[in-house]
Symmetry: C2
Subunit: 467 residues, 2 copies
């Protein structure tokens, strides 16, 4: 056998241990949003700490936070080698509605090459994929070709509230040349992919007040500003007939994709019609862009909520004094959340009629993430993924945000490679979550080869700036 | 003394008894919206039944309904005389916030020529004004110049839910030549007035659905119809830049006022600026009409409520599947609620983009009421009011609706004269409700003279059609 075959074989030997380990871990209901499960999240952290040591990590510890604990583990072979930081999370989503599960969510069931249970795909399976791959490499070769660190968060499903503080407080211990984020997925089993971009977010609340008290619609109706009417006008005016955001300065800094990049995106097997039909939605958005482009590379301005006046059964003849809405923008490179916030706020205030008092407040924001496909860390990963899957690797741009990735990118200044083996049908966040085991097994092989590839690139080769 | 002076003196003698009777009645907390007060509403009805008999009504009885009971009383002098039906209500508003009352709401306090307490003005004081005036006439003359009937509802503050059924079931017993509704007010102590018009109402709910499930704003944002955006567009399009409703057919049947009628309305002492400033509101509405006209003689299309998506603290990155709003129109002569409902519904459906499913539902409607100032029943009342107040009587058009008035007008086919002595500062529906006693005393004198005037007009003279 060649060296590569020996490694592959050594890693394959860890497939059953991965499945058995995952069953034991999934049995710990580490639901971070449920205060009654706090002890389970602690137990989950302890499980992972011990598991990491069992897989050959030289050090593993629980890092407490003001919320749920994270787990840190590392194996430093030689400081001159590249260091890879692996990110995952050991907390899981709630299970409701529990009666829609085919099997108990925390009694994992292996069936048809899949493991069913809460956390199998999101994200415990991914973490053990990394741990068992390391064990396979060590069983075969006795050492790793790189240094590896693992940070497994315990609050990802609860907003990663303390993750930024945690990373800041441990910046030295988490220092690395590249981060591999394994909390994403692929488009299909036979379409291997890497995620290269996430959109950022700015989320606002706008409130309109037009009188100091609620008014009777009979006594005042027809003669006064109505705050819901004012708000409707403001919101209706945010887009033009071509679906473009009308706010002056909104598109400032937006980097247009090259024709090559658009072609790359167009190669992703994705049918917009099917995608929208599956949720009963109708296509809408900016003229001149595909559904895929609208949801990934273009900035948005969406209304996420609205309220005002009477919302109950029947009738209340009121003209309310106030109305409000939640707005959010998905941001793309190189938009700045502060600049967009200022632009939207100024536009809303200017567009409101005299007599309407407008308040505009930033609720939170987060930067976009971009690791271009030409970056050596991504390029190497893509080659390895293609080899293992024996199919071309596509580059996925996600429309959403993953806040801890922004934290890692910003606080540690490392390129982030988003490699996950989840599938669209894994039902993460829903009843009957499952993971396809051969996806995890292939993922272990990717890890084995990728560390070799990163060793070959060396610290210098990985250090190319993003941009 | 002249006959008129003798009558006035006899009625004046009932001033103190009115105040003392009102104190006892107000002490019964007949809050119709509070299920725990149901026995008090019953006690209030029994009090009024006994009080009416004490004032010389020849018959008085409690009429149960599926909700709270009403009280009926009558004194039939001679079937050939005109019959007046007096309407009032014996239930009262809730008292919250109770800590804002200067004195306990059900322990009436006489001070500075006013009586404070829940129900003093709305509407118990008005009912006793009628009862004690009758007692004064009978004490002086031994008989009434007309027949009188009283219907006092027990659910006016709770939506008059069973009043229509009650009137239908007792149509014969309630038959009259004219109805005098005493549940309204005047603009100021020195500006006597009669209400001659009430706007009607149509109240709707509109719901927009754009997908079969709530969507993640990162995954779908920018690429799908957003129901709040669609709803905002629909609502923003309901009025043009001149404040006119854009719905085709909306103004169908609207009777333009004659220049004489507009001049009559302009004579009402009313300062639109002060009126709006007192509630911190800003003037808005149809070009070419005054604030008074916009709120009384013009139809409206207002948004009374709106909802959709996330309304809580912080952020939820959702594109909801649905959004909705409550709309209402105040209707004026001769608009038809059915026709306006069809017009608004058709317009909203037509204006929605393909892919947005629009539901439009009528919640309830009620007709406008108009008793022109030239009608003999109003004309006579205006002359009497002017005499008693020694000032010209103004004709008030109210922007709101009083559903039982519509019921009486429609079911009994009688002209409705709206005579009430409330004042803008009476704080009905708010803490520290009060009635100005000399308003009630003058009101008693009006009643004394008005029955003479109606007797003089005779049944024939009162029967002029509305038009």
């Amino acid at each position: 056998m060649s060296g590569g075959d020996i490694l592959a074989s050594g890693i394959s030997a860890r497939e059953r241990p991965l499945v058995e380990g995952l069953k034991r871990w999934v049995a710990i209901p580490s639901v971070s949003t449920d205060p009654e499960r706090a002890r389970d999240v602690e137990a989950s952290a302890a499980f992972l700490r011990d598991y990491a040591l069992g897989c050959g990590m030289s050090r593993a510890e629980i890092w407490p936070t003001a919320g749920h604990p994270a787990v840190f583990a590392e194996r430093i072979e030689d400081p001159s080698l590249p260091t890879v930081l692996v990110y995952g999370h050991h907390d899981v989503q709630p299970v409701d509605p529990e009666n829609e599960w085919e099997a108990a969510p925390f009694e994992p069931l292996e069936r048809d090459g899949m493991l069913l249970g809460r956390g199998t795909a999101d994200d415990k399976g991914h973490i053990l994929m990394h741990m068992e791959a390391i064990r396979g490499i060590l069983d075969t070769r006795g050492r790793l070709p790189i240094n590896v660190k693992l940070i497994a968060e315990g609050e990802e499903e609860d907003g990663s509230e303390h993750f930024e503080e945690l990373v800041r407080d441990h910046r030295q211990q988490l220092a690395a040349d590249v981060a591999v984020i394994s909390d994403t997925g692929m488009l299909a089993e036979d379409v291997p992919g890497l995620t290269v971009a996430l959109r950022g977010l700015a989320y606002w609340e706008v409130r309109v007040e037009t009188s100091s008290t609620d008014l009777h619609s009979g006594v005042y109706g027809g003669a006064v500003l109505n705050p819901i009417a004012v708000l409707s006008q403001l919101l209706a005016g945010l887009h033009d007939a071509r679906g473009r955001v009308t706010v002056p300065g909104f598109y400032q800094g937006v980097r247009d994709l090259t024709s090559g990049e658009r072609a790359e995106l167009a190669q992703v097997p994705f049918d917009g019609g099917t995608f929208l039909a599956s949720v009963g939605a109708t296509a809408d958005g900016e003229e001149g862009y595909s559904t895929m482009e609208r949801r990934t590379i273009r900035p948005t301005l969406e209304i996420c909520g609205i309220w005002g006046g009477y919302q109950g059964e029947g009738a209340k003849t009121v003209i309310p004094s106030r109305a409000g809405a939640k707005l959010s923008s998905r941001l793309v490179p190189d938009q700045e959340a502060d600049q967009v916030t200022a632009a939207v706020g100024a536009h809303l205030r200017a567009a409101a009629p005299a007599g309407a008092r407008v308040e505009f407040e930033l609720i939170h924001d987060g930067r976009w993430v971009l690791t271009p496909s030409r970056h050596p860390a991504v390029d190497a990963a893509a080659r390895v993924v293609s080899e293992v899957w024996q199919a071309p690797c596509v580059f996925i741009r996600e429309g959403g945000s993953i806040p801890p990735v922004v934290t890692i990118a910003d606080e540690l200044g490392v390129p982030c490679v988003l490699f996950g083996v989840g599938l669209p049908d894994d039902r993460i966040h829903a009843p009957n979550e499952r993971v396809v085991l051969h996806q995890l097994f292939k993922g272990m092989q990717v890890v084995g080869r990728l560390w070799d590839a990163y060793a070959k690139l060396g610290r210098q080769g990985l250090s190319e700036p993003l941009g």
